[in-house]
Amino acid sequence: MRLVRAAVLTTLAIVAAACQKKSASDTILIGHVGSLTGAEASFGTSTENGIRLAVEEINARGGIKGKRVVVKTYDDQGKPEEAAVAATRLITQDKVTVLLGEVASSRSLAMAPIADANQVPQITPTSTNPRVTKDGDKTRPYVFRVCFIDPFQGTVMAKFARENLKLERVAILRDVGSDYSVGLADYFKKKFEELGGTIVNDQSFKGGDQDFKAQLTTIKGKKPELIYVPGYYTDVALVARQARELGIKVPLGGGDGWDSAKLYEIAQGALDGSFFSNHYTHENPDPLIQNFVKRYREKFGGTPDSMAALGYDAAQVAFAAMARATDLSGPAVRDAIATTRNFPGVGGTITIDSDHNAVKSAVVLGIEKNKARFIATVNP
């Protein structure tokens, strides 16, 4: 029984130690809830890197209101319950000024009521589901996002496919386990059919699958002109390879989940001729973006993906708002975030609208010779 007692005592000691830490008054603590482990660890880690980069920069510039910024990150293993507990802990025990996260809408949805109830602003970098910032019909007062929402991105690609590419027949291959993917696919389908196109087939897979040939074989039989695969790069690259292996020559289409250097590394040219919507392009000569990419490479190695860029933007928007706010209380910072206008982020120029969504233009990128090329800007 010594073991039990020892275990209980250790637990209590650690909890007590954790509770004792108080943020000193010369620092500003911000919280991040992310999936550092689990099936989506890749995305959470990217976001975390983006946030760390932003924090490092703001501190190099002298912090906010003369205070250093410190970020505290809690892992949620990709589970909504854990995200809620972590958010509660950051807000009530660590007393963070701003809460950043989560990547996935399902987890942001679990955090949002807590941010609202405790009047601490939450900015989600990449949760695209419209309901994240909405509680029923009314906008959640303390929850914001710096990314597109599903309807926007889905619609952009549908319009691009129908109006610019003049396509008639499109097949969809969605990740049924990801709310992001399902959302984009739904809105794409709606808009594309509205514009007179036909969805010839609507297939699905589950993130992490190794094999997509079953779905692709069926899609091939329906002879589409484009396959819309709104998913994450981790799966899309394999989808593309297997599509080519099956002799499918039509382009693929997707959303910002595609954006990662890994996409091209895995796809090995299989995506040439495909299109996807995104926030920005690494090729954009804008020094802001080039600087970000360069510093990210130096610090973490590798090219930042959209998750990193948006994590960076979320932190930047929060810092700018804190700097503008009269004081660092939740309501004051909230008001400041809500009045963000034309903020130059690496993921586009951000204006927060009355629904607390980021209004920004999307770019459509084409892939040629295993590299993304800018094709068009689509304004909201």
């Binding site: 637990t11 660890a41 399902s106 679990a110 309901r131």
Partner: protein, 340 residues
């Protein structure tokens, strides 16, 4: 007078528990500190899950890996009901009371629905044993999740969000208490002993008049119903029900809890659910290293104490608590020491 005393005895744990919980809840609200509420809710729900799974895995000896599926059924059933009844109020009651009544209804429905799912999952247990049963129950859990992911009316991958906040310490406490009381009363009753008999020797149990098929299904149903209750409670605490909450990894976590606590030991399940939940929370500071530490601890703990923290015993069986009467029950003490 006798029936009244009877009733009193039947509900005694609750007559003691509810006022304590109410005052805890009130103290929490009064002090304005909600810091630990959600954590305590998770602890409570894990206790419910562990103790209820123990009825099947520990007491009956059937290896089920589908607990998350039952949670999902309960969570979605309750969520659908509270969302559907969101606009209604019983006009003759204060709003808060009316809400809580509806929630009670939702919880009851969650238990019923999950229990029904338990029948479905319990049926294969009549033909399958051990690992075969484990993989089939795991499969059922995944099927349930898969169905939810594909149902538009259940919100697909996003799930049902915007649930009203209904779960509080009182609900969780009472539910956890009810689960423990259920498990305890079962274990000292003739029905519970019938379950143990199935675990020990199915052929002999059948020959001694235990309807093994019936009892296995009943164990599944009871266990599933309480898992559904746990699911409903957690959904109304984080105001969300999504398929992500109910993966087979969740089921495995619960199995880990009961084995670590000692298969068949109710207090073991309770202690291990509490320690594991709080321990993981305490380790949160370690970020990504947390899970590595957790995994290493799991292995070390199992190697040091293979029979689990409590073995098959309850807290009150341990030498520590029966120092006075220790000599009288030499058998019990020998058992607590464990086999070599």
């Amino acid at each position: 007078m006798a029936p009244l005393r009877q009733l009193l005895r039947s509900f005694l744990p609750f007559l003691v528990g509810v006022p304590v919980l109410l005052s805890a809840q009130w103290a929490m609200e009064y002090s304005g500190s909600q810091a630990y509420t959600l954590l305590l809710v998770t602890v409570g729900v894990n206790v419910i899950l562990a103790v209820s799974l123990n009825v099947v895995n520990g007491a009956t000896g059937q290896f089920s890996l589908g607990h998350a599926g039952f949670m999902a059924v309960g969570a979605y059933t309750a969520a659908k009901i509270t969302l559907g009844l969101a606009g209604f109020k019983l006009s003759f009651l204060p709003a808060a009371v009316s809400d809580q009544l509806f929630f009670a209804l939702a919880l009851a429905a969650a238990m019923a629905a999950a229990g029904l799912a338990g029948v479905l999952v319990g049926l294969p247990s009549l033909r399958l044993r051990g690992d075969y049963l484990a993989i089939v129950t795991l499969g059922f859990g995944e099927i349930i999740r898969s169905v939810i992911e594909n149902m538009k009316s259940l919100g697909q991958a996003t799930g049902l969000s915007g649930l009203p906040l209904r779960t509080n310490l009182v609900w969780v406490g009472v539910s956890a208490l009810a689960t423990v009381v259920m498990a305890r009363r079962l274990s000292v009753s003739t029905q519970g002993r019938a379950l143990f008999a199935i675990r020990e020797d199915e052929v002999a149990a059948e020959a001694m008049g235990v309807d093994t098929t019936g009892y296995k299904v009943r164990a599944f149903v009871i266990s599933a119903a309480y898992a559904g209750l746990g699911g409903a409670l957690i959904a109304h605490a984080i105001l969300l029900a999504t398929p992500r909450m109910f993966t087979f990894v969740r089921s495995i976590e619960v199995v880990v809890m009961i084995v670590l606590g000692g298969l068949g030991s109710i207090t073991g399940s309770v202690v291990s659910a509490v320690v594991l939940t709080l321990g993981l929370e305490a380790l949160r500071e370690f970020q990504a290293y947390r899970m590595v530490v957790y995994a290493a601890l799991l292995i070390v703990l199992m190697l040091l104490r293979p029979q689990g923290i409590f073995g098959t015993h309850e807290l009150w069986d341990l030498p520590f608590f029966k120092r006075r009467g220790a000599r009288k029950d030499a058998g019990g003490a020998a058992r607590a020491g464990g086999a070599p």
